[in-house]
Amino acid sequence: DTLLELSYLVAALLFVFGLKLLSHPKTARNGNLWAFGGMALAMLTTLLLHKNPEGEGISLANIWIIMAAIGVGAVIGWIIARRVKMTAMPQLVSFYNATGGAASALVALLEYPNAVAGDVGSILVTVLGLIIGAVAFSGSMIAYGKLDGKVGDLMKPFMTYLNLFLMVLTLGLGIYIVVSPNPPSEMIWAIYSLLVLSLIYGVMFVLPIGGADMPVVISLLNSFTGIAAAMAGFIYNNQAMILGGILVGAAGTILTVLMCKAMNRSLINVIIGSFGGGASAAG
């Protein structure tokens, strides 16, 4: 148990160290490797040392299933990353960001029934993880489609209001789930509705934004994925997930602002400007 906590600390430090090296041209490639090492360490020690609240470790049968799933994901992820054309890399980053968001949303969805009725705090982080993860997933998929030329820009004047309405509806349902005294087993319909609403909101959020602004949007959605992972970290009270997630959330937000500056635009301009008469944003 102590060993696991210690390995999470080392992993978290490696994330910070890796990110630091990644921000300098000479050391960037090593930084990426260090961060990967941290991830591999955290994955391995979780697999071998994690115990649930009842004190049971992960059984061998489950370990095999986990290894198989990781194997499938690793092979597919590696092959796509190696084979894709250099020019197609930004959309690939968006695609991988989408898969991370999907994983966060699924973890939150599946952990929700285990929450205790009235435990507002843990239901709150679960609901937040679900909403943010789902928006990051569907938003990133649209961003991927736009950069890949599969999805065009769609700007209609009414979309501002529709999006506002969708956002209020999604948050409203989220708040209802958090404050409801009903046990989660009676709220399954609500959590699935929340998932669907969040997915729709993610699509509608990115659709009106101009194709030229996609890198900024991907960076923003990337910080969403980090925050969603951190929320899931709260569910498990897992320091590596909380620190890693928030680190990406903070770094991603700053990076988004820096990217906007490099393009001589403000973030608000990118997000809101495209809703209104920001036709100049379309590219």
Partner: protein, 104 residues
């Protein structure tokens, strides 16, 4: 409201971590040159794949004695998480490889 406050009190160490990580994240990034924006975004994206630990815990303690939708979704979460981690780090590495060649 007091529920939420109580929750935050219970998890005050985590709140502490959050506050420090936000500063850390901002500090670590603040001086990055524009050429590294995309690789850095990609690297940070791979780190957000840390959600995979949640997937491992989820499937690790899943009941395998009967088939369920939850198990399928859990395995799907694991596959998605791995795509994010492995794909993310691999793409970042390829970008930086290209970057190095350009400099020469």
């Amino acid at each position: 409201m007091e529920h939420i406050l109580q929750y935050f009190f219970e998890y005050k160490e985590a709140i502490f971590i959050i506050a420090l990580s936000i500063f850390l994240g901002i500090e670590v990034i603040s001086n990055v040159p524009a050429v590294l924006h995309t690789p850095l975004m990609s690297g940070a994206n791979a780190i957000s794949g840390v959600i995979i630990i949640g997937g491992i815990i989820l499937v690790g303690h899943a009941d395998l004695s009967r088939f369920s939708l939850d198990l399928v979704l859990g395995i799907l979460a694991l596959i998605f998480g791995t795509l994010n981690v492995v794909g993310g780090f691999a793409v970042t590495d390829r970008m930086l490889e290209m970057f190095k060649k350009k400099k020469k």
